[in-house]
Symmetry: C2
Subunit: 548 residues, 2 copies
Amino acid sequence: MRIALAQINPTIGALTGNTKKVVEYYDRARAGGADIVVFSELTLSGYPPKDLLLYNDFVAREKEIITDKILPLTAQNSPAIIIGTSHHEGGKLYNTAALLEEGRIKSVHRKTLLPNYDVFDEKRYFTSFMERKVELLDDLPTAITICEDIWNDCEFFAEPIHNVDPLEILFGQGARLLLNLSASPYNLGKHKLREELLPFLAKKYSSGIIYLNQVGGNDELIFDGSSLVYNDRGELIYRAAAFEEELFFIESEDLYKPAAVVQPPDKDDIDTVYQTLSLGVKDYVHKTGFKKVVLGLSGGVDSAVVAALATDAIGPENVFGIMMPSPYSSDHSVEDAVRLAENLGINYQVVHIDRPFAAYIGLLNETNEATGDLAEENLQARIRGNIVMHYSNREGYLALATGNKSELAVGYCTLYGDMSGGLAVIADLPKMMVYELAGHLNLIHGREIIPGRTISKAPSAELRPDQKDEDSLPPYKILDPILHYYIEENMSAEAIINKGFEAKTVQEVIYMVDRSEFKRRQAAPGLRVTTRSFGMGRRMPIARSYDY
Amino acid sequence: MRIALAQINPTIGALTGNTKKVVEYYDRARAGGADIVVFSELTLSGYPPKDLLLYNDFVAREKEIITDKILPLTAQNSPAIIIGTSHHEGGKLYNTAALLEEGRIKSVHRKTLLPNYDVFDEKRYFTSFMERKVELLDDLPTAITICEDIWNDCEFFAEPIHNVDPLEILFGQGARLLLNLSASPYNLGKHKLREELLPFLAKKYSSGIIYLNQVGGNDELIFDGSSLVYNDRGELIYRAAAFEEELFFIESEDLYKPAAVVQPPDKDDIDTVYQTLSLGVKDYVHKTGFKKVVLGLSGGVDSAVVAALATDAIGPENVFGIMMPSPYSSDHSVEDAVRLAENLGINYQVVHIDRPFAAYIGLLNETNEATGDLAEENLQARIRGNIVMHYSNREGYLALATGNKSELAVGYCTLYGDMSGGLAVIADLPKMMVYELAGHLNLIHGREIIPGRTISKAPSAELRPDQKDEDSLPPYKILDPILHYYIEENMSAEAIINKGFEAKTVQEVIYMVDRSEFKRRQAAPGLRVTTRSFGMGRRMPIARSYDY
């Protein structure tokens, strides 16, 4: 049996556009001699469709498309299709894999395990379906599963989340092939985890495995593709492209013989982060209907990295930088920013913020003199935000916010100021990782992209004379691990202190994190790269006390 | 049996503070001769605790408090306690009602039905528990239930959400009293619904009902209290205070005799909305640690209503208004705003935005002349936002955003401009309801609070000469019902058109709603009063297509 796997990049809600893509991939698969063509989880709506699923006409329209446009493809001995779709039955909605064959729906396989943690809300929409049945595909007994369905093995995971394991049921029925339709977003460590779980399952059940993942950026989430195929010995047979669409073919026979070559594990490092963010920027810009982006360039490493990522993602001709020096800016700020822009080959403009700042001070301070207080630091940041947004509004550019995860965590940022923008590109990157990425950008381009001084100088917001981040914050090499333990690991102050950090520092950091929830609530969507990003994956109350 | 019911206003996460309040209410109940004292759902953490529950030390600390501080209260013939708490068992977390008696945990009653729709995420944290057991309270067989547990009657609801009804199980075991620990946020229509469901259940099961609700504002959600007691004939025996804390006592014998007086249904109208928002503002301000608020006063009805609500909620001495006229402001704008401020007795200041606007224009337009484009409209709104935030940052006032639901829905508002603020007070009020509330404010004060001209003049953003909202939007009396059908009822364009609206108007409105998701994603939390507010109750993708 020749199985075609379509690793595609759907746009959320684009039922018509995604259908067109499905038909196109189907035609290519048929031309390539496929017996069956497989698509990923919730292909037609894209994943995650979120509350679009609550519009009854949305789900109804999807059903119409399956009936009118997809089913007919399979008539008259054309290849069969397995496709992920939302499926209403008995007043309940199911996350479903439908097997379409000979112009009819041969069977539906409804998802049992619904993720409802972190960024996932599947129990908001879907009902879990407990009965699972093996399907014969060309006489090969196949477990057709959807994403989370395979992530609950009680031997692999110390603490499985769900009470049942659909694989036990399906392999109990004699399955010999595990087919998984996924939409699994990338985060650091995900490649390693997948490439440990899948061969474990292959060996445990002596089964071939085809794991088909969605690709593409959808708001905060970036799906990496990287679909995987294992033989029944747990050897990797094929790994599809990362961060790109791909149509590939597997001969089912190959799943039951030794692998021709041993492949090294997939990378899961700063370059994967780079590719994740590149795709995240590119897809967000294009799927929101923009062509160009605008951002403020401070001469610092955060805006430099965001500019470089955007340039690689959508081309230098589509990136516009604005340098906005104030009276407190150091001499090198504009110099470094200009050097960056020239390294990148992007257009830029220098706009001094002194005059609007003076105009505000004239209104707000009776003495007409700046006091240099925190409110005036915020005001400068907001003037810059206004200017970036003005270019965005006037020119139709998408504004990119350039804040990193460390400063967003402790609230070292100005709401409506430097937080302005439609997408926060590095909002899930701790500052130390921003530096690592800066170095990596220079490395992969084989020349200086991020200027050396931008990397080497001490981080500063430059909102008052001689300001340094370290005046207000612990050094990032201390701050970042504390934030990791608190935000990603949910550890208590006590447990973090026991890791060897100074108690006072830990308490101050937690205090800052807790008290800046109101800023994060109004932050732009940030591209997710760690196991716990701000946004939908971390839902915190604002009006709260801290006396526990 | 004398049952004390503690309708309290906990602060989210304030385990220590909430415990103090529990002890205080317990002492008062004991002094009042109670045999048992009942508290509402998740009393110690407050509801909803959200991702605080993911901090393991948070749940552990709550358990310690139950063991060390609450349990001992009940020793030596002191009154028993039924209290809502999070409860870990076998690696799962349960939303639990614990019966504490004679210094020990006599029984725990775990929630079966977990709401995971709208603003609710209980399946993110809790496991559903299916076994339910009637508890004898002083020989009275009692169904101890938690909130959603009683909201699934298959005769009352045309389409029950859940597959099981714990009441069938519990009344099957012979329960004669239904005790429900709730944390049920108010929305328009909720009073009516509760006062229909509860007597229905009382009659159906010939059972007394005690429904104890939390009170208080927690971010977007406002819990109204309004706890209810019904006899086994379905007659209302007692209704506790709305929007206030209260300790009240019920003699269990009274649940099984005719009511002394027939009470009219609770109100569920614009005054309830007024009280909801007043409490929402007051609690948000105080629970976030603020004392005073600042807001822009445009002379229009939205900011006037917000100022009046804030004044009633926290006192005129704690409300500061800023009038920020521009070259495009009409003469009456400042006049009307000043009159409002004087009616309210609040402090205010007039800050002209001409100079910063001119300074920006000097930077951004080569001709030094304003072009009057949309970008410059946004710029004016952002200058105002900057000024409000400057007062907020410098004086430590909480900034209130004044946008209504209609404009937030269609994106007729400026991100980082008029959308600035820590709390969006009327973000869930359609414009027509804002007018209704304006009239109501004048009525309840028995004098002009909102100036007549503020109510009668045509709504305008005043960002260009002679601008009127109706230049860009359908009249609000058309717009608001379309928005209601689309946002609250999830209706399709087709279905709305079938309600009798012009097709072109409906399509334009939906277009505007869909395309302003990015603004709402960065909006301040808005107080919820309808069945579907923006924010956690409506989770929409931003990068999406519309071609279905």
